[in-house]
């Protein structure tokens, strides 16, 4: 009786382990996805602000929220570790300039917002790709 129950439990655990990868994301891919989404949102926010779809002050307060979401992401990624070390290095290299944009976004006509948008776009694409692989 107990042997059978034990067997069923072992089979259940094995089944869970074998399906876990399709059931849930790893911590690394989740962090990468969230960062990619935040960078994409920051890019759209910056674009909308310069296209006159939102005010600069609205964009500024949104960016503050992205800032807190992204703060410490580089350390978290490094701690979680990627399957491929080159992917991690590439992400960290893109993270640094992108977070600088988030810290000091161009929300006036006096600076080059298109360059900032490009930096954010590159970072978001790379993070989202890492998150989906």
């Amino acid at each position: 009786m107990w042997q059978k129950i034990g067997m069923v439990l072992v089979l259940l655990v094995l089944f869970s382990l074998s399906t876990a990868c399709t059931f849930t994301e790893t911590a690394f891919t989740r962090t990468a996805n969230n960062a990619g989404s935040a960078f994409a949102a920051a890019e759209v926010t910056l674009t909308y602000a310069h296209e006159g779809k939102i005010t600069y002050s609205y964009a500024a307060s949104s960016v503050v929220i992205f800032q807190s979401e992204l703060s410490g992401t580089d350390q978290t990624l490094a701690a979680q570790g990627a399957a491929n070390i080159h992917t991690l290095q590439r992400l960290l290299a893109l993270f640094s300039p992108a977070i600088q944009v988030i810290d000091a976004p161009c929300l006036s006509n006096m600076c080059n917002w298109r360059k900032q948008r490009e930096i954010l776009n590159r970072a978001s694409q790379a993070f989202l790709q890492a998150g989906s692989s």
Partner: protein
């Protein structure tokens, strides 16, 4: 007659305002951005459940002249009453912090000033309203303002309606690798955010504040069906907007800043401020309802004087609870967690405790000592059992899923 229809209109408006809060906005936005229209069915199921529950709690209070908390204590004893009370205290303190954060973010979007600066002042604003404002103002003010939620529907129309490729996601949501757990987690959170027990405690106490009687049953039924239906429409509209605007941009709506973009696309600056106004109105209404629901619950359970229309000195302990509860929420909020993430987590905690809050319903609604000939019929009892089974299932899966997915 005219007065009764005016009451019905106000009731609908109130229910619409009460349905939407930081939790429903957070879950609806994230659901649409991540799974297209694939979680709308959960909102529909939860809406039917909340319509039934609101109708029942209103009928119970109108006929028995007792609130839900009073009846739990009277029928099940003080020790049992402490169970739903404790679960409410834990879940709703988190939700109140999320609502205060939602109001702060709305003000921040209007002004550009960081939401952290607004947070303590917002708590003070809610405290003053809850302390001094009469019940009618608390009930109808934010709710009327909350009608701006209908602008979500206008947003969908302005964007040309639901795009054809999105429609199949209604019954066949597109899963990326490893997102099944997230789908289930969001389902549980939507259930928890829609069936918020605070709404039931507030509604029950509100019915007593307004001296409902057997003659108010029509008002109660119309309020439950039309009001919750309207609220649900606002929530579903936000899912659709997020699916149209955010999903193609790979924005998963992890923060309220991301969610604000959905209204900027169709309406520009006006749209972005409409979103901020919706956030302000719904979170203000919900914050007042949460803080009052807890104060009502404790005062009624402990047999203290209570009532929003009474002077603070006449219901001193009721008002003291309100103050202490707000202070607890301020402490939680000052930790600095994003309000949207906090609202998601609070919805999960609510889902976890839902069976404790809802179980007494089944017994009370079949007790002729309270309800005379207005007890539940066979259909409402079967529906109630269905809701309880669902609540148990959601409770079992909510916490493990929150851990597996890292909170969505």
């Amino acid at each position: 007659m005219k007065k009764q229809w005016l009451s019905i209109a106000l009731g609908i408006v109130t229910a619409t305002g009460g349905f939407l809060d930081a939790g429903t906005i957070a879950t609806a936005g994230e659901a649409g951005a991540k799974f297209g229209l694939g979680l709308i069915w959960v909102i529909l199921v939860a809406t039917i459940a909340i319509i039934l529950l609101v109708e029942m709690i209103g009928r119970f209070t109108a006929v028995s002249k007792k609130t839900y908390a009073e009846a739990i204590r009277e029928d099940f004893g003080f020790r049992f009453y402490l169970l739903p009370l404790s679960s409410e205290l834990i879940a709703e303190s988190l939700m109140l912090a999320a609502e205060l954060g939602g109001i702060s973010i709305a003000l921040s979007l209007f002004t550009g000033i960081s939401w952290h600066i607004f947070f303590p002042f917002v708590a003070l604003f809610i405290w003053i309203l809850a302390w001094r404002a009469p019940f009618d103002l608390i009930e109808n003010g934010p709710a009327l303002l909350g009608l701006v939620t209908l602008s979500f529907l206008a947003g969908i129309i302005a964007l040309g309606g639901i795009p054809a490729p999105l429609i199949p996601t209604l019954w066949h949501p597109s899963f990326q690798q490893g997102t099944v757990a997230e789908y289930l987690y969001l389902s549980a959170a939507i259930f928890g955010s829609t069936i918020s027990p605070y709404l039931l405690y507030f509604y029950s106490s509100g019915a007593r504040e307004e001296h409902w009687s057997g003659a108010s049953l029509l008002l109660n039924r119309v309020t439950a069906i039309v009001g919750m239906g309207f609220g649900s429409m606002g929530s579903i509209s936000l899912v659709v907007l997020a699916a149209i605007v955010l999903q193609p941009l790979n924005i998963s709506s992890n923060t309220l800043g991301e969610l604000g973009l959905v209204m900027a696309k169709p309406f520009g600056i006006v749209g972005s401020f409409l979103f901020a106004l919706v956030l302000f109105a719904t979170c203000t209404g919900a914050a007042l309802e949460v803080v009052l629901a807890i104060s009502y619950n404790i005062a009624q359970g402990f047999g203290w004087e209570w009532g929003e229309n009474k002077k603070p000195i006449e219901a001193a302990r009721f008002n003291l609870v309100m103050t202490i509860f707000l202070l607890i929420a301020v402490v939680i909020g000052l930790i600095g967690i994003d309000p949207l993430q906090l609202a998601l987590f609070a919805s999960t905690v609510i889902a976890l405790f839902l069976p404790i809050s809802l179980s007494p319903f089944l017994i009370l609604m079949n007790d002729p000592e309270y309800l005379g000939n207005k007890t539940n019929g066979r259909f409402t009892n079967i529906a109630m059992i269905g809701i309880l089974v669902l609540a148990f299932l959601v409770a079992i899966i909510s916490l493990p899923l929150a851990i597996i997915t890292g909170g969505g």
